[in-house]
């Protein structure tokens, strides 16, 4: 390779000086987006989806991704027959799939392959009870002597790579295949770098709705490609294919309420006022006013926020208009598709559902439309906790209904029988009471960790105890484990769970759980235990005091354990213990407030004063008086001036305001001067720099928030020369 001349070094340095100005670098970034220099085409701004095998830009040639492999199973030959065994290279993934060591050669049995994601796994019942089990029992009950087997290829977290899996699955020589997928079909925003110029124009013309439309278009294209590639391949091979269109827990599931993103000048303030008025009107029973105000909210936010849509849904439900209530809930479900500011529960989106309806039949694929199925089964009512354990994972009843309908389709496709699904529900396998209890308890935890309302959480806790009292011991161990400062798996209570818990409990509680204060969840658990005659409140209070009591130690209110209790999901993104791989990494390492109130919780004692050390500032100039108000347990304890420079305050709150156990402190920010269109400029600047965009107004920022025992003397920071281990101390 030819050496680049030494002389060119000075040229490069000179160019660097020009480029390195703020405008110079920005010009270079924008120029790159035009492809005049470099090639930004099809390059994701942040490429994290490869972490879990989600790749959204593969060639549509129908080729198998791995010709000697199906999922984690690799092809083997023995005595001229082909079978598959689990690959040790994929050991880390085994837990996501069925516990199936070997897939035998295709014999005389009719082979039905079930492909899908966690819903298809029977998440929260798996491995004790799965969709595949339910399906197989139904099919066998109707087979009239024909042997049928169901091969379970469902994988938790399966996303768009269902395409490759479905094509690879043909190596198993199936007689029919079911694809039960769609809740993990996501296309993230920020977009590919090549699309940023289009986003720039669309955002300025249409506002935040442009981002939603962009992502919906991407998703539509992806799903269309999947259906085409898979459908065509299956049609050519003559293998019957059934697509199950997923449904969502429209009745119970609530995405957390957040502020509207950047809106044109003046609109954000109007939106907030409308929201407050609409909530008051609804609480007063005035649905007409509430709905009118909510309609105006939705008009302003262009259906990119759930708040107004939920009010409209609730008003419709109150007025008995369930079709409208359903429609608004679906719009609310769809409204988060673009929002990368927080983790969103997996779900199926309308755009993906419609592609399946429209496209699958073009390749002779059959459709099982779960939304229509559940509507029929529930006689028009919205699907809720009766059929769902959470956002999309089903109860045993939901699984039985869905698999009954799937079985009905498959039996027809295999020309074995024509029987209505309603007659098949009773033929499905059922989990034991113990398994039901465990699934319900796990559902309570899962719902709580996705910020669901108390009544849902409590309802699952109560259901768990009704199903089987054995769950009470697991619950008390869980309460203990969550309240310890010791890492979860090192606690004695975790050991007790590992010894006494079923594989189901161990799988979820000891692998996927995060320790957090869990205020609402633990309250619900204790409430349910109390109703069952088991008193555990005192134990929890005492443990909380020992482990996290402010009287004994300084507490960082910004750590995940405490921050998560505020139920403000945008605010905790920077301290998540495990990064959401669908979202770009946070670029800031301090707390940002996306609402006018920042809520925190700590463990205090009655009559024991506390001292807060708070370092904070505003992000935008203030529209109103630049003052921050602090409220402890709903008592206004004071107001301080704040500006856009970091300032540190010591705030000593007298003991009479405190109570034993959990105490609330709210930081109330002044209303900012909302940036309006400047907010869109900032979003685009972030995108061109390859950073996670800030779609929402920041009300304030907190760098430090520590609470300590107010009776302790204030320890001044050490003089540097007094620090025991300081270097250079003479």
């Amino acid at each position: 390779m030819q050496q680049v001349s030494e002389l060119l070094k000075s040229f490069a340095n000179r160019l660097a000086q020009h480029v390195s100005s703020k405008d110079g670098l920005q010009a270079l970034r924008l120029l790159r987006l035009t492809n005049l220099i470099g090639n930004s085409s099809a390059k994701p701004v942040e490429s994290s989806l490869d972490d879990i095998g989600h790749s959204s830009r593969k060639a549509s040639d129908g080729s198998t991704a791995a010709p000697n492999r199906v999922g984690i199973w690799e092809k083997k030959q023995e005595n001229g027959e082909t079978y598959f065994v689990r690959s040790k290279d994929k050991l880390e993934e085994w837990n996501y799939w069925a516990n199936l060591g070997r897939i035998e050669p295709k014999g005389t049995k009719k082979r039905v392959v079930l492909i899908g994601e966690s819903v298809a796994r029977g998440y929260l019942y798996d491995p004790q009870f799965t969709c595949a089990m339910a399906l197989e029992t139904i099919l066998k009950s109707q087979a009239d002597g024909a042997e049928i087997e169901v091969i379970d290829l469902a994988r938790t977290n399966l996303g768009l790579e269902v395409r490759e899996l479905a094509i690879d699955a043909l190596q198993l020589e199936p007689d029919a295949v079911i694809i039960f997928s769609g809740n993990n079909w996501r296309c993230v925003f920020p977009p590919s770098a090549a699309d940023i110029p289009k986003i720039d124009v669309a955002l300025r013309a249409q506002g935040m709705a442009a981002t939603k439309q962009y992502v919906e278009t991407m998703l539509k294209d992806e799903v269309t490609r999947i259906v085409h590639d898979v459908g065509l391949t299956y049609k050519e091979r003559g293998v019957p294919l059934l697509w199950i269109i997923p449904e969502f827990n429209l009745g119970d599931w609530r995405d957390p309420l957040t502020n509207a993103p950047h809106l044109p000048a003046g609109a954000n303030l109007e939106w907030i006022n409308l929201w407050q008025d609409a909530q008051h009107a609804f609480q007063d029973g005035d649905c007409e006013t509430a709905a009118a105000l909510a309609r105006r909210m939705v008009e302003l936010d262009q259906e990119v926020n759930v708040a107004g849509l939920y009010i409209l849904a609730d008003c419709s439900a109150q007025l008995g208009d369930m079709d409208s209530a359903r429609r608004y809930r679906e719009l609310a479900r769809d409204s988060v598709i673009w929002d990368s500011s927080k983790s969103a529960a997996p779900r199926t989106y309308s755009v993906a559902q419609q592609v399946l309806r429209d496209e699958a039949p073009k390749y002779d694929g059959q459709i099982l439309d779960m939304p229509r199925l559940f509507k029929e089964y529930l006689k028009g009512a919205l699907p809720d906790r009766q059929l769902f354990l959470d956002y999309c994972h089903m109860t045993s009843e939901g699984i039985q209904v869905t698999m009954a309908a799937a079985a009905s389709c498959i039996l027809k496709q295999l020309a074995l029988k024509d029987v209505a699904w309603t007659r098949l529900i009773g033929q499905a396998a059922s989990p034991s009471h113990e398994v039901e209890a465990e699934a319900a308890f796990l559902a309570a935890i899962h719902s709580a960790h996705w910020w669901q309302p108390y009544d849902v959480i409590h309802s699952f806790c109560a259901r768990a105890l009704q199903q089987s009292r054995h769950i009470a011991k697991i619950m008390t161990c869980f309460v203990d484990m969550q309240t310890r400062r010791t890492p979860m798996l090192m606690c004695r209570s975790a050991e007790q769970i590992s010894v006494s818990g079923s594989p189901l409990i161990q799988h979820y509680l000891l692998r996927y759980n995060n320790q957090q204060l869990d205020r609402m969840l633990l309250d619900a658990v204790l409430h349910a235990l109390k109703d069952a005659g088991i008193e555990a409140r005192e134990q929890l209070d005492s443990l909380r005091k020992t482990e996290y009591g402010v009287a004994g130690r300084d507490i960082d209110l910004l750590d995940y354990y405490h921050c998560s209790a505020a139920l403000q999901p945008q605010e905790v993104m920077w301290v998540l213990p495990k990064r959401d791989v669908f979202l770009p990494q946070e670029r800031h390492h301090y707390y940002k407030a996306y609402w006018c109130e920042s809520k925190f919780v700590f463990v205090g004692e009655a009559d024991c004063p506390v001292r807060f050390q708070l370092t904070f500032r505003l992000h935008y100039p203030s529209l109103t008086d630049p003052k921050v108000t602090l409220r402890v347990n709903a008592v206004n304890v004071g107001t301080v001036e704040v500006n856009r420079e970091w300032a540190t305050w010591n705030i000593t709150v007298p003991g009479r305001v405190l109570k034993d156990g959990l105490n609330d402190i709210v930081v109330e920010w002044p209303m900012p001067d909302f940036p309006g269109m400047q907010g869109y400029d900032d979003v685009l600047n972030d995108l061109t720099e390859g950073n996670k965009p800030e779609f929402f107004c920041i009300f304030g920022e907190i760098h430090t928030f520590v609470v300590s025992n107010g009776q302790k003397a204030v320890v001044s920071a050490h003089e540097p020369h007094q620090v025991l281990s300081a270097i250079g101390a003479d």
Binding site: M1, Q2, V4, L8, A12, N13, R14, L15, A16, Q17, V19, L28, R29, G38, N39, R485, T486, P487, M488, L489, M490, C491, R492, S498, R579, R587, H589, Q613, R617, L630, V632, N636, G638, V640, E645, W646, A647, T648, W649, I651, T652, P654, V657, T688, E689, G690, N691, E701, H703, T704, A717, H718, P720, V723, S725, A726, I727, G728, A729, D730
Partner: protein, 612 residues
């Protein structure tokens, strides 16, 4: 004053609000990030009060991401808040680096992926934007170019009033080697060698050729060298053309890093007559000879450059820094055979130490004075764990452990008993060391008199190559009786011959040398007492001391890290703060906790140096 109306309408105060004035000290945070071993430090009125690598928090080895957790630690350690930070110093000149990146992109026939990668880096957020966004800092940022940061990290902590300064590494912004001098608060450089000519890359290329990880395996090559003969030295001299002044040039025919994800080309294999070694494959005499040869050539070049430097800066004192300065064997030869009488090497000589140098330079620029005068005598600058936390963790589990709170002498006797029995002890106490070496705060300890100890710890505990030697920690007062050493060596940065009447095969390298750490009460009292007790019982004031980590992992930081490393390895006994436990006391479920993988952080590549 905020008030609340009481029942009869009169007001009374509720909370007391006190705005804290900014702390009176000059608080400077130093940051290094982007290549490998990102780190953060804090200088308060020129006093270094905290320093730590980000990898210790994220548990990602050589983590190169911006040190967000290390930053918070530094503030907490000093009781500061964001409002107290006067300046952030960054260890690189991003604009100089930008020039180098642009130049790299101008190479003809560069693969398009490479060019795209370079352009990606150029258009990404620059360090200033990252610092402001990540930390929320609006104050002044001082950029200190990379080699100046290295130079400052060494000179300002050497205790020398004046010295010659040599910095040598892979690359920073443009320079890869710099020659200068320091006096008072002033550092001046008069010559440099620029990228792509780099002694660091020269050594890293052979490291990669020998099947070790670039950025990480260089000191393995150093350790392997004594097993070989310099039979390939002539061939290896073809890789580098050395002139009589401070300059040298790499023969780019043998180096591929400008255009490929590899350090070396096929030509190197042709030159040496064998293909590159597959990682983890058997090491043969050929590989040992190549290691010896590259070590010999490196030493030659360094010695020549040290002599050159002395010709320009005829001081008695030499300061060294930069990744190549971690080659303690070469340093030792430079001191023995070179013209300088005294040598100081920054213990965190690599990029982590650049954070300290940057902060020190910022201090000098702002105040006109050097940061401090006293020679660095320890590097216990990282976080400490409390006995209370350790007790809380252990007592919440079903682990069986012994509690020695308030009974340090008993703890020490217990530990010495275990060591004499031939047990391997994981030892975690006090503030963590800053830099790549464990110096008795986060160490694995063993009886150095037992010959089998080296193989045992290599194979079962650290799971690393069998040729890797272990280093000794020795009471400073006794060091001269066992090592050819007449001065303090607190950082394991020099090698010397073992002259002990005791058979110390576990810590004696094949060439009779050892890389010694001398220990005193003043810097690490508990560790010193442990050595004293071991000496009292055995007549040997030395312990085998290696870093408390397993292969591929950062050194442990917290009590939980120490426990998890203990669980995963074959360490026999864990002594963490005032508690001890043995393997039989490990609860079964801890194995599951021990398999948790780190999240976050940015790992470095191991095929090629991080250039961008």
């Amino acid at each position: 004053m905020p008030t609340q109306k009481n029942s009869n309408g009169s007001s009374q105060p509720i909370a007391k609000f006190e705005r804290l004035a900014k702390r009176p000290h000059l608080n400077i945070v130093g940051i290094s990030a982007g290549y490998h071993d990102s780190a953060c430090c804090l200088l308060q009125d020129g006093v270094l009060v905290a320093a730590v690598q980000e990898e210790r928090f994220t548990r990602v080895k050589n983590d190169k991401s911006f040190p967000r957790k290390a930053f918070r630690y530094c503030l907490e350690q000093a009781g500061l808040t964001m409002a107290d930070i006067d300046c952030i110093a960054y260890y690189e000149d991003p604009y100089m680096k930008l020039g180098r990146q642009i130049w790299m992109g101008m190479i003809p026939d560069l693969p398009s992926e490479r060019r795209e990668g370079i352009l990606d880096r150029i258009v990404k957020s620059q360090p200033e934007q990252i610092i402001r966004r990540l930390f929320g800092f609006n104050g002044p940022i001082e950029f200190v170019d990379h080699h100046l940061s290295h130079a400052a990290s060494s000179f300002f902590y050497s205790g020398f009033d004046e010295a010659a300064i040599l910095t040598v590494d892979g690359v920073g912004d443009w320079p890869t080697t710099s020659y200068g001098w320091g006096k008072g608060s002033h550092i001046e450089r008069f010559e440099q060698v620029d990228f792509p000519d780099s002694l660091g890359f020269f050594y890293s290329a052979i490291t990669g050729y020998l099947g070790f990880e670039v950025n990480e395996g260089e000191y393995k090559v150093m350790g392997l060298a004594p097993y070989g003969e310099p039979v390939y030295a002539d061939q290896i001299r073809n890789l580098i053309e050395v002139s009589s002044d401070g300059q040298y040039r790499l023969n780019m025919k043998y180096f591929a890093f400008l255009s490929e994800d590899s350090m070396f080309t096929q030509e190197l294999s042709t030159l040496l007559g064998e293909p590159p070694r597959e990682p983890e494959s058997e090491l043969r005499q050929f590989h040992m000879d190549v290691a010896r040869s590259v070590q010999a050539v490196l030493e030659e070049v360094l010695l020549a450059k040290v002599r050159y430097l002395h010709s320009k800066v005829p001081s008695e004192n030499l300061c060294m820094a930069g990744g190549v300065a971690l080659n303690v064997v070469a340093n030792g030869r430079c001191l023995r055979e070179g013209p300088f009488k005294r040598l100081f090497v920054q213990p965190a000589a690599g990029d982590a130490g650049g954070s300290v140098g940057a902060a020190a330079m910022a201090h000098a620029r702002i105040t006109g004075k050097p940061p401090y005068r006293k020679k660095l005598d320890h590097v216990y600058l990282g976080p400490e764990n409390t006995s209370e936390d350790a007790y809380n963790i252990l007592s919440t589990s079903s682990a069986k452990f012994q509690d020695f709170r308030g009974k340090e002498e008993e703890l020490i006797r217990y530990t010495v008993d275990r060591l004499i029995e031939g047990k391997v002890v994981g030892w975690s106490h006090g503030r963590m060391e800053f830099g790549p070496r464990s110096l008795g705060a986060r160490s694995i300890l063993a009886d150095p008199r037992r010959p089998e100890m080296r193989d045992r710890i290599n194979a079962l505990v650290k799971m690393r190559e069998s040729f890797r030697p272990f280093a000794p920690a020795v009471l400073e007062s006794k060091a001269h009786e066992h090592f050819d050493l007449d001065h303090a060596s607190p950082f394991m940065l020099e090698t010397c011959q073992v002259i002990s009447p005791i058979d110390l095969s576990a810590i004696t390298h094949i060439d009779g040398s050892a890389r010694v750490q001398t220990v005193t009460h003043e810097t690490n009292p508990r560790f010193a007492r442990l050595l004293e007790e071991f000496n009292r019982r055995t007549g040997c004031p030395i312990l085998l001391n290696t870093s408390f980590n397993m292969r591929g992992e950062p050194i442990v930081c917290t009590t939980v890290d120490a426990i998890m490393c203990f669980v995963r390895s074959q360490i026999d006994v864990l002594v963490v703060e005032d508690f001890a436990m043995e393997r039989a006391g490990i609860p079964a479920l801890w194995d599951l906790q021990a398999t948790e993988k780190p999240t976050g952080g940015e790992a470095v590549g191991h095929l090629v140096y991080t250039l961008l």
